[in-house]
Symmetry: C2
Subunit: 456 residues, 2 copies
């Protein structure tokens, strides 16, 4: 479907070219390509395939009739406002209500510093838009959320990955990377981090490391972009304090209702230092004029009239049950692989036995009716860093447990195990010890605990 | 509220700076500034002010209870789909239904070439994103839609205006401008045009000129971006054939439900040549992942179950009544000004008596409780073109008749007339002949007819 935009001839009148506008595109367009996840969705969505690939929230727990009544009442009572243009920054009363949500992570902010966006993806786009010139550096975890990497690439940023372990981003490696980049005269604009229940790694930045990461960022003069879609979906304890709660001037915080309410409304937000907020609003007005007044009004009504905290509890229970099913199945069926043990969120990051390539293995997996996302999707593909070159996610995959029923998860893992065993047989490496897992990029460190019966 | 982003010192630790990130912003951010319209909205929205400034559709004719029932049924029947993530390109069935809407303008296309966007503003952003490198040229009408100019500026495009007259864009001047730019070695990426009921000029590109404009664009190898939010809101006759209907490969067409249904849903679309469509989808996925499934599903249900053609007829009648009120009031009360006579849409473009400056006059108008948008907002502010330099909209204003009640429109014009008369008295030019109006940029041509009792 993609055409090479760089080899076109100059003749506009020719009818035999695939794309007569091929030599008209902006330079940034060369950086826009379909992600590995996107190409996968068409096969993964076939009903016979168990998809451990997607990150779609499971909406079974949502009371649709109640939400329907909210929508009907809203239109009956305030239709001419709810269906009209609104403020580019977003509905002031929704921005107030968002403060209550963020309070659960110990954030105290002002509604005036909140910008409502079309999902937090749009907030990612806007932050990148106002900060990144081509060639600027963004430092991000290894691995990182594929949707963020796509945005960074579209703005021609240079992403430099920093390793994680089971406690999240490793502060000393962040410090060393920022020091090295400063020494090279590179302009680092921000650190992109998903501190809670990381996508795709499944790990959480420990409470001890949070102030350390912020101090390092502050010392190097680097803004922190804290992307937090999953923070309220912890299984085992209450939410950790957000980075933003510890250092408001250093952090742009991104939140979303996609995982705690519903993604189809496309309502997310950014909380930013005031001057940054100004620029985000201008950028958003240019991009979309204003977010949907209807979606915002519905979310506001939902927060006002529905027990949203209880709804989040239902979501947590639903996802914990699936996480447990995933871990039990992996434990039973994939003894030669290793994986992270998430305390919340949607994802397990699995390392295959040595020598196996998750990307190369995918077609066979789909034939066996199971889908996942190869680890390579979560790397920006730089090869100049010594650590990065050898850790590009090739031996890893992301497994999502958010959407399928528990018994389907087990069936999916069973199929996956059969594929892995088949590969090992083919490669004659069946007898090798391939259980020395860990998150790539942590030399000499056994970062991830072997999974245990973590069923509380 | 805006801080100068260029004068910041280098010390990140200083607490006394307005914006500690001031030296971190991208170059494009310097081009993002609040439009004159935006700054105006806070005063114009006070209830005692008659606002002839905004372009908000009038939703009084919309049956809110019926729309509320559609929303409730939708969530009851298909809630888990309507509230879920969807395709980045948009719901395939909505894209099919959009073909029926475009058929009214004689467009035949494929649903596969439609991209659903968060309002057509997002489509403007995406088209600009995939085509414009800093310094590229966009050719646009003089004057042009302020929201498009904001996008073009944010992508660091160089906008070159081409004059209009009462029949819209002047083909020979377009040809001359494109020839001049080619001679200068400038890279013209596209022509931006609002062919129907122009915002702000109120004029329509005549049927005779449509093929001429397309031929000129084709000859110069320039894509046409046809922005058509008002095309179905004609008062006097059926819709004209869209530019896209005459030359599908040359045109990216933008449509919207904001004026024919409701803007608060933020549903617009682009219809593009296939290869361009590919890039738009990738750009949109990067920007927002996917448009709101809920908004899309509601629009689709509305198109399926509601008599949407009749609703558009109601809108047309509502706006025609207001257009008539505006023209009658201008005729009665502002004999020394001239204005365009729109056959549809929302706007009249008014030229003040000679020597008056609409922007300078605005504070006095707001004191007199009437608001408008000064003509300068609709120019990109280039000064290198001989035509542009003398025609920057200073003596013009945009008057919107879409929202207020007819008697309020008359009252607004009465207040405006008093302000103008006061200005003329102050300037001692009361006796001068200041009725030689016209759209700026048409040297030696009296483009706009004197307004008559156009009340049919």
């Amino acid at each position: 479907m993609q055409h090479d935009i760089n080899h076109a001839a100059g003749n506009h009148a020719a009818g035999n070219r695939l794309d007569q506008w091929a030599d008209h595109y902006a330079a940034r367009t060369a950086g826009m390509s379909a992600s590995e996840i996107r190409a996968l969705f068409s096969v993964a969505s076939r009903p016979e395939v168990v998809s451990l690939a997607g990150g779609m929230p499971n909406l079974a727990a949502l009371p649709m009739d109640a939400v329907g009544h909210l929508a009907a009442d809203l239109l009956g009572d305030h239709g001419t406002t709810a269906l009209q243009y609104g403020s580019g920054q977003g509905d002031p009363l929704l921005r107030e209500a968002i403060l209550d949500v963020m309070e659960l992570e110990q954030i105290s902010g002002h509604a005036d510093d909140v910008v409502v966006t079309t999902g937090s993806q749009q907030a990612l786009d806007l932050v990148t838009r106002i900060f990144i010139d081509p060639g600027d550096v963004i430092v991000a975890e290894a691995p990182s959320y594929v949707g963020a990497l796509g945005v960074f690439k579209a703005y021609q940023a240079d992403v430099v990955h920093v390793p994680m372990d089971a406690d999240g981003l490793v502060p000393e490696l962040l410090d060393a990377t920022l020091g090295r980049l400063a020494g090279e005269g590179r302009k680092v604009k921000f650190l992109y981090t998903v501190p809670n229940f990381h996508n795709p790694a499944g790990v959480t930045l420990s409470p001890e490391r949070r102030p350390q990461v912020l101090q390092i960022a502050r010392r190097h003069g680097v803004l922190v972009l804290e992307d937090n879609p999953y923070g309220l979906l912890g299984f085992d304890s209450g939410p950790l304090p957000a980075l933003r709660s510890l250092d408001p001037e250093q952090v742009v915080y991104l939140g979303s209702f996609s995982k705690t309410f519903a993604p189809g409304l496309r309502v997310g937000w950014a909380l930013a230092p005031h001057a940054v907020r100004d620029k985000l609003v201008l950028a958003s007005e240019s991009a979309i004029l204003c977010p949907s007044a209807f979606s915002q009004a519905l979310v506001r009504r939902y927060l006002e009239q529905h027990d949203w905290r209880h709804q989040i509890k239902l979501y947590r229970e639903l996802y914990r049950e699936r996480r447990d099913a995933m871990l039990a199945a992996l434990e039973d069926l994939m003894p030669r692989s290793s994986w992270t043990v998430p305390d919340g969120g949607f994802y397990v990051w699995l390392q295959l036995p040595e020598g196996l390539d998750a990307k190369a293995m995918l077609p066979r997996a789909v034939t066996e009716r199971v889908a996942y996302v190869p680890g390579t999707a979560f790397y920006a593909g730089r090869t100049d860093g010594a650590d990065d070159a050898t850790h590009d996610g090739r031996s890893h995959m992301r497994l999502s447990y958010c959407y399928p029923e528990p018994e389907r998860i087990r069936e999916g893992v069973r199929r996956l195990a059969a594929v892995v065993d088949g590969e090992l047989t083919v490669r004659g490496t069946f007898g090798a010890d391939a259980t020395t897992g860990g998150i790539p990029g942590v030399p000499g460190r056994q970062g991830v605990e072997s999974p245990g019966p973590d069923l509380q």
